[in-house]
Amino acid sequence: MLLFRRLDSAHTHRNLIGQHPLILRIQALIKKVAATDATVLISGESGTGKELVARQIHSLSPRAAGPFIALNCGAIPAELLESELFGHERGAFTGAVGTRHGMFQVASGGTIFLDEVAEMSPPLQVKLLRVLQEREFRPVGSDRSMKTDVRVIAASNKELFDEVSKGRFREDLFYRLQVIPIRVPPLRDRRSDVPLLIDHFLEKMNARRPQGPVRVNDEARVQLWEYDWPGNVRELENVIEQLVVLADGDTIEAENLPPSIRRFVAGKHNPTPALSDEGFDFNRAVEAFENQLIVEALRRSGGNKQAAARLLGLKRTTLVAKLRRRRGGNGVEELTP
């Protein structure tokens, strides 16, 4: 059973897409740290691209020809994790029938990516610290140390410093890991990259679509842009993949988007009124709602008030009166579409 994964060649040429000032800085930092052997700590929510950053550092480093091995520390029971990392001798524990190499041997000359490093048990944290300091380790059940030549990149979706404050993560290991810290921001904080990412994933999925390419129309695109992406880039990638697979025409429209996204975006434009401690400005909310309807009706009617009034089920004179009242100002905008 091999719990860690080797980097397959398909991953190596993947780029970190984005033009946001933070992404440009991350790209610059990747180039710079790739040239060094420094330990890197990548933090960020799940799906933001931490592993992609790690892979890029490896691919641009002098170790690129060596292996890149990823291990998710949160997905493996503590007892197993130790032997995954350091290997074991025959008979080291029940079930250890043969000698087995660990990551620190297999990845020699390459890079180890330790994902969800915050989940590592305290005894293992000590052992990891030792490898980082002395470049040597001891396989489970062995009495001699082995030398290792690996670069370590760690990642965490938890704020590792908070884990240190809570006594769950060793402070010395924390500082040892974050020689170079890289924070990958959540997608909602770099929303302006969403259209680029949509096009990137669209192109990728379209290349595999025998029926020919699909496009995303403006309304669908703007709704994807407004969505908050709690699952970050991974969620966006999955959504685009689904949309392309399920598309039956050549255009993805807002109606095709997952209902959860549509509901979220609708909620942004038509906030559910709620009473806060300071109370709630009923008139303002009603006014804003009215505004939205009127603006939309005028847009659809191309500015024709008669037609807009019909869409709204109002008399033309009523609509005109409402428009005149709005022009007064007080926080409400001009209604000309």
């Binding site: 404050s165 559910t272 847009r299």
Partner: protein, 175 residues
Amino acid sequence: MSENPSDESKNAPRRRARDPGTAAAAKPGNPRRPAADFGSVLVVDDNRDAVDILCRLLGTQHLHTIPAYGGSECLDIARSQPIDLILLDVSMPGMDGLAVCRELAKEERTRSIPIILVTARDDHETRVAGMRLGVSEFLTKPVNRAELLERVRGQLSARVLAREMDETIERTPQE
């Protein structure tokens, strides 16, 4: 600030943005240092009451606000002093919010200032224009205070992060 219950009824989960100035961030050794010099927010609306309300709201979070009552005033300020965020109305007489975005994008100095559009113009065209112009957020009037503050925090922490990354890039040895 009170929690607005309507946040919970939203369908997608949303995590709180990190606050660049919390007590936790002030602990020694924490890589998230408090950013005392952060938070110059330019608040732009042709309606003085709207500017007032927003400035007061941001003031409760100890953010430094600068009022501007029109598009060209906004540009003058953004070109002449350090601004970390612009809250920008769309419909304004003279130069409107979208034109302001276009002008800001033209100059190196103002290009990367994040913009939050705060507008009652909630139509398809304005949203698409905002997306194409690369604005950071699009909020609809009347704004939900909790949501506005969360978005402001998100954008300001991104600015803090950008500065920290500049330092990291600077001190990473070239080998």
